[in-house]
């Protein structure tokens, strides 16, 4: 497992031996895409069941703690914002006074629909990133004959999370020991943001140039197809499962569009 200086993993990937961990990364990707497309078209009850099922799977595969924590951290502010904006602020025909506040039931219903849709999509993504290592994803893409540049484009954001996160911690530490207060009021914390973000952005831009030079220096795009050592396991069953999931994902999105 990747770990930062303080021993806390920066990547969301959590090692394990579950079916999802052992699945070919392209199969996991297909599952994620199918879940996202399903979340885009299902009614609220459907996205609720989908989210619950994804949480259950995450618990069974041993990634539940990390995935659910991220889900709650992300969805709590989104949920609050949706309720306030659609339930309390935007005036709708059914807007009625409850004494202290005015509430719109249809607004709340809409907020719940959007909330569950986003939660289902996020949970699908979390299931994918917690059970699939970015390096395995790159190997699987190479194995499928995807051009190296495209593979790198897909996997590099995941691969960059760890160094980016470690660097952010190092910058935060460097500024704290120079007296920067990051425990005070919100005003103080907002004031501290440029101090933390400027070195992070500057170094990220400088890294881009260096990474491009290193890749070019290693003849990254010299061969259209590379030999993969230790390619992730694949099978005929997974191949057909992927085809089914990709087809379903396209149909789920396409049929409502065509029949509308």
């Amino acid at each position: 497992m990747s770990a930062g200086k303080a021993g806390q993993p920066s990547l969301l990937f959590t090692p394990g031996e579950s079916l999802l961990h052992r699945a070919n990364p392209i199969t996991s990707l297909a599952l994620m895409l199918w879940m996202i497309s399903a979340a885009a078209v299902l009614p609220t009850i459907g996205t609720t069941i989908l989210t619950a099922a994804a949480i259950l799977v995450s618990l069974v595969t041993g990634v539940g703690k990390r995935a659910v924590k991220r889900l709650l951290l992300t969805m709590t502010p989104i949920g609050v914002a949706l309720v306030v904006v659609h339930g309390l602020l935007i005036e709708r025909p059914d807007f009625y006074d409850h004494g202290l506040v005015s509430i719109s039931p249809s607004g709340l219903d809409y907020a719940l629909r959007v909330f569950m849709r986003v939660a289902a999509m996020l949970m699908a993504t979390l299931l994918f990133v917690t059970t699939t290592h970015p390096a395995d994803m790159l190997k699987a893409l190479d194995q499928r004959g995807v051009p190296p540049g495209v593979g790198y484009l897909v996997a590099s954001p995941l691969l960059l999370i760890e160094p980016f996160s470690d660097r952010a911690k190092a910058i935060r530490d460097a500024q704290r020991v120079r007296g920067l207060d990051m425990t005070g009021s919100w005003k103080a914390r907002i004031k501290a943001l440029p101090v933390l973000l400027m070195p992070l952005i500057t170094l990220a831009l400088s890294d881009l140039d260096q990474r491009a030079s290193v890749l070019s220096g290693r003849a990254f795009r010299a061969l259209p197809r590379r030999t993969v050592i230790n390619a992730p396991h694949d099978s005929t069953f997974q191949l057909w499962l992927r085809r089914l999931l990709f087809t379903l994902a396209v149909l789920q999105l396409g049929i409502p569009l065509l029949w509308r």
């Binding site: 910058i171 530490d173 460097a174 704290r176 020991v177 007296g179 070195p199 500057t202």
Partner: protein
């Protein structure tokens, strides 16, 4: 000035990185912390400046227990120069970067200008005050990081591989800064892999091996104990080896070696 009492620390349960570390450093002493990679040097440094808290034991810096003092307040007592200066630079001018620390301490106006001006002179960048820190060379950039901490005038100064990447002139300047800080009573701790730099600048050496304090000796005493330096995994400086081979008293610098050589020849 700095007391570390029976400190233990682990990143993960059951795997201590530092065990039972105890030492005291008085004001005006320059102490080098040496050891192999992974010996626990950088972890110890992060415990000293309060970024990490010990699992057991206590650390007191200038009368402040690190366990009770927030990091930003502890910064008044202990200044740290990290290995990568780029990780702290965010201002568009060298002068503003130097002024950042003192401003956090509440310094303003003429007092701030005077302090920043004095530091710019000390680090040799008075002529680059208005330059962007990323437009100067790497050696000068590291001096900016050192200067930004010096400007806070901390009674304890931690330098993590501060000499690495410096050119000859900047290394000499850093040695002078360390000597000046020692003279004004600052406690200086160097985390360092360059044993020549340690031999020239440190009064005392703390040797870490597998997270334990394996040596706490004067610099001369440390480098003349061949078994100990081998156990800790550091090289003996060339001057010490050369003086031993010629039967001279251990010389920690070329100047001292030359003096010992001349004295023997004259005798």
């Amino acid at each position: 000035m700095l007391t570390v009492d029976d400190v233990t620390f682990a990143y993960a349960p059951g795997a201590p990185v530092l065990s039972d570390v105890t030492f005291h450093v008085p004001p005006g002493q320059v102490v080098a912390i040496v050891g192999r990679n992974g010996a626990g040097k950088s972890t110890l440094l992060r415990l000293l400046n309060g970024l990490y808290q010990p699992a057991t034991g206590a650390i007191v810096v200038n009368g402040n227990a690190t366990s009770d003092t927030p990091v930003h307040l502890l910064a008044r007592s202990i200044g740290t120069v990290f290995q990568a200066p780029e990780q702290q630079i965010f201002n568009a001018k060298v002068v503003d970067e130097i002024a950042f620390g003192p401003k956090q301490l509440g310094l303003t106006g003429k007092a701030l200008d005077e302090r920043v001006g004095a530091v710019l002179e000390r680090i040799g960048l008075a002529g680059e005050a208005e330059t962007h820190p990323l437009d100067i060379d790497a050696s000068a950039r590291r001096m900016v990081a050192i200067g930004s901490v010096l400007a806070m005038q901390p009674p304890v100064l931690l330098l993590d591989e501060a000499q690495r990447g410096l050119d000859k002139a900047a290394i000499d300047r850093l040695a002078k800064i360390i000597a000046d800080e020692k003279a004004r009573g600052t406690t200086v701790l160097l985390v360092c892999h360059d044993m020549d730099f340690v031999a020239r600048n440190a009064d005392r050496v703390l040797g870490l091996a597998r997270g334990r304090l394996a040596a706490d000796l004067s610099t001369e005493g440390f480098f003349t104990d061949a078994a100990l330096t081998a156990a800790i995994g550091v090289e003996v400086p060339d001057m010490v080896s050369l003086s031993a081979a010629l039967g001279l008293a251990p010389a920690l610098s070329p100047e001292r070696f030359a003096a010992a050589w001349m004295a023997r020849n004259e005798a």
